[in-house]
Amino acid sequence: MKFLHYWRAMAGIVGRELLRFLHQRERFVSALVRPLVWLFVFAAGFRAALGVAIAPPYETYILYEVYITPGLIGMIQLFNGMQSSLSMVYDREMGSMRMLMVCPLPRWFLLVSKLIAGTAVSVLQAYAFLGIAWLYDIQAPAMGYVWILPALLLSGMMLGALGLLLSSFIKQLENFAGVMNFVIFPLFFMSTALYPLWKLKESSVVLYQLAQYNPFSQAVELIRFALYGQFNQPALLFTAAAFLLFISAAIVGYNPSKGMMVRKGGGE
C-alpha cells in the first residue's frame, strides 16, 4: 500500500511536469533555440579558428560542430536544471511549492521525484536536439543514441540536483539573476563543452584545472563518450558523486528544521 502511494505520487509529479511541458510549447522551442544558435552560428563561425585534434572518443579528425554537440546537450540539461530551480523559487513565492511539501510523503522523496520529472523533460529536449543535429549531418553511431540515455539521466539528475540546491538558498526570484552570472556562465565556459581540455591547458593551467574538476565538464564527457558507444568511468564516478553531494545538500536545505528557509524566514 505504501509502495503504491509512493509510485502514484512519483507518477503524478512526473506526469504533471510532462503535461506542463506539452502545454508550454514556447518553453520547448526556446530550450532548443539556444543550443541550435550555438550549433548553427557559433560553431560554424569558429570552425576554422578552432581546430580539434584527434582525441578519444573520436577516432578521426572531426568538425567543431561535432565536438560541441555533446556540450550543447549538456547546455540543454544545465539550463533545464536551472529553469527547474527557478520554477521552484517561483513556486515557493507563489505558494504552490507548499502544496507539494504538505502532502504526506517524505521531503527527500518529493525532491527526488521533482528531480526525476525535470530530468525526464531535459532528456526529451536532448533527443529533440540530437534529431535536429542528425538532420544537420552530425551523426553518431546508431547505438550511441541508446547508450546516451543513461548518461543523460545521470547528468540531468546531477544538474537538476544542483538547481535544487541553489533554489534552497535563493529566497526571492529577483536574486536569481545572480545564479546566471555566478553559476551557469562559469560552469558552462570553464568546461569542456566548447573546447577540449588540452586546448584550455595551452592557454591557462589554472583554467585547465578548474575545467577538469568542474562537474559540468564531467557530465559533458560522460555524454560525449556515451554518444560514441564508449564508457568513461572517471566521468561516471565524478558525475555520480557530484549528484549525491548536491542532492544531499538540497535535502538538508529543504529540511523543515535545519534548512535555509528557516534561517531566512521562509519563502512566504
Binding site: 502514484r8 506526469g15 503535461l19 505558494g95 504538505v102 528557516v262
Partner: protein
C-alpha cells in the same frame, strides 16, 4: 474520546532574534469552525507554516488528530487539507488535471480519484468546468477548485488561509456557506484565518492572535461575554489596541 483535530501547545518560534510566536496554545475539535483573527504581522502565516510543517518549531507541540507533526508527520499531514492564501493551482493544466495531481500525491488511484473529483466539483457547482484550464477561471472559481482539492483525500482538518481575499461578495458568501455546511454535516474541523470579520458565524470559535501571542480563544459568544464586547469588531479592537484586522 477522540483527540482534537488540531492541538497546539506551548508553541514558540523565532526568525533569528525576532520572535514570531510566543507560547501559543489552542485546539480545534471535530465539527468546529475556528476563526483565526489577527492583524498583519500577528504570526498567522508563521502558525500556518508550522502546522503544515514548512518549518519545525523548536519549542512547543502541534498534534493533528493525535499525531505529532514532527515525529509522525506523514500520518499527521495525511489528515490535513489546506487552502493557502495564494492560488496554488497550475494555470496551464485543466481543473481535472490539477485535482488528479493532488489525488496522486495522496496515493489515491485514478478510479477513486475521478469519483471523488466528480462529487466535490458537483458540490461546488464546478463540475461543468472540469475540462477548462485553470487560467481561464475567475478568482472565485479557482478558490472553489482549491477547496475541492483540499477535500479530495477526505481530511479531518481543513486549514484555510484567507481564502476569500479579493473575491466579490457572492463568491465569498458561497465559500463561507460551503465550509460551514461541511462543518455541520460532515463534522469537519476547520481553522480559518481571515481579516473579514463578517465571515464569522455565531456558533464559530475564535482565536485572536496579536504580536505572536493568543489574546483570546473560545466560542465566539463566550469571548464576547468575557470581554463585554458588543460584536467581534469591538472585541478585536480591545484585544489588539485598535490594530486593523
Amino acid at each position: 474520546m477522540n483527540p482534537p483535530a488540531l492541538n497546539v501547545s506551548g508553541l514558540s518560534f523565532a526568525y533569528g532574534p525576532k520572535k514570531a510566536l510566543d507560547n501559543v496554545g489552542f485546539s480545534v475539535k471535530a465539527g468546529e469552525c475556528t476563526i483565526l483573527l489577527g492583524p498583519n504581522g500577528a504570526g498567522k502565516s508563521t502558525l500556518f507554516a508550522l502546522i503544515t510543517r514548512l518549518y519545525d518549531a523548536r519549542d512547543g507541540r502541534i498534534e493533528l488528530c493525535g499525531f505529532d507533526i514532527k515525529r509522525q508527520s506523514l500520518k499527521a499531514l495525511s489528515r490535513l487539507g489546506v487552502v493557502f492564501q495564494q492560488t496554488t493551482l497550475d494555470p496551464d493544466l485543466t481543473v481535472t488535471q490539477n485535482l488528479r495531481y493532488h489525488a496522486a500525491l495522496h496515493g489515491i488511484g485514478r478510479k477513486t480519484a475521478d469519483a471523488r473529483i466528480q462529487t466535490e466539483l458537483q458540490r461546488l457547482n464546478m463540475y461543468e468546468r472540469r475540462g477548462e484550464k485553470v487560467r481561464l477561471l475567475n478568482g472565485g472559481h479557482k478558490r472553489r477548485v482549491e477547496i475541492a482539492r483540499a477535500l479530495l483525500h477526505q481530511p479531518q482538518l481543513l486549514l484555510l488561509d484567507e481564502p476569500t481575499v479579493g473575491l466579490d461578495v457572492p463568491s465569498r458568501q458561497a465559500i463561507v456557506d460551503h465550509v460551514h455546511e461541511l462543518v455541520r454535516r460532515e463534522g469537519l474541523a476547520v481553522l480559518w484565518a481571515t481579516h473579514l470579520i463578517d465571515e464569522i458565524a455565531d456558533d464559530d470559535s475564535l482565536v485572536v492572535l496579536h504580536q505572536g501571542q493568543i489574546k483570546a480563544a473560545g466560542k465566539l459568544q463566550t469571548v464576547l461575554q468575557t470581554l463585554g464586547a458588543a460584536h467581534v469588531g469591538d472585541a478585536f479592537n480591545r484585544l489588539t489596541q485598535g490594530a486593523k484586522p
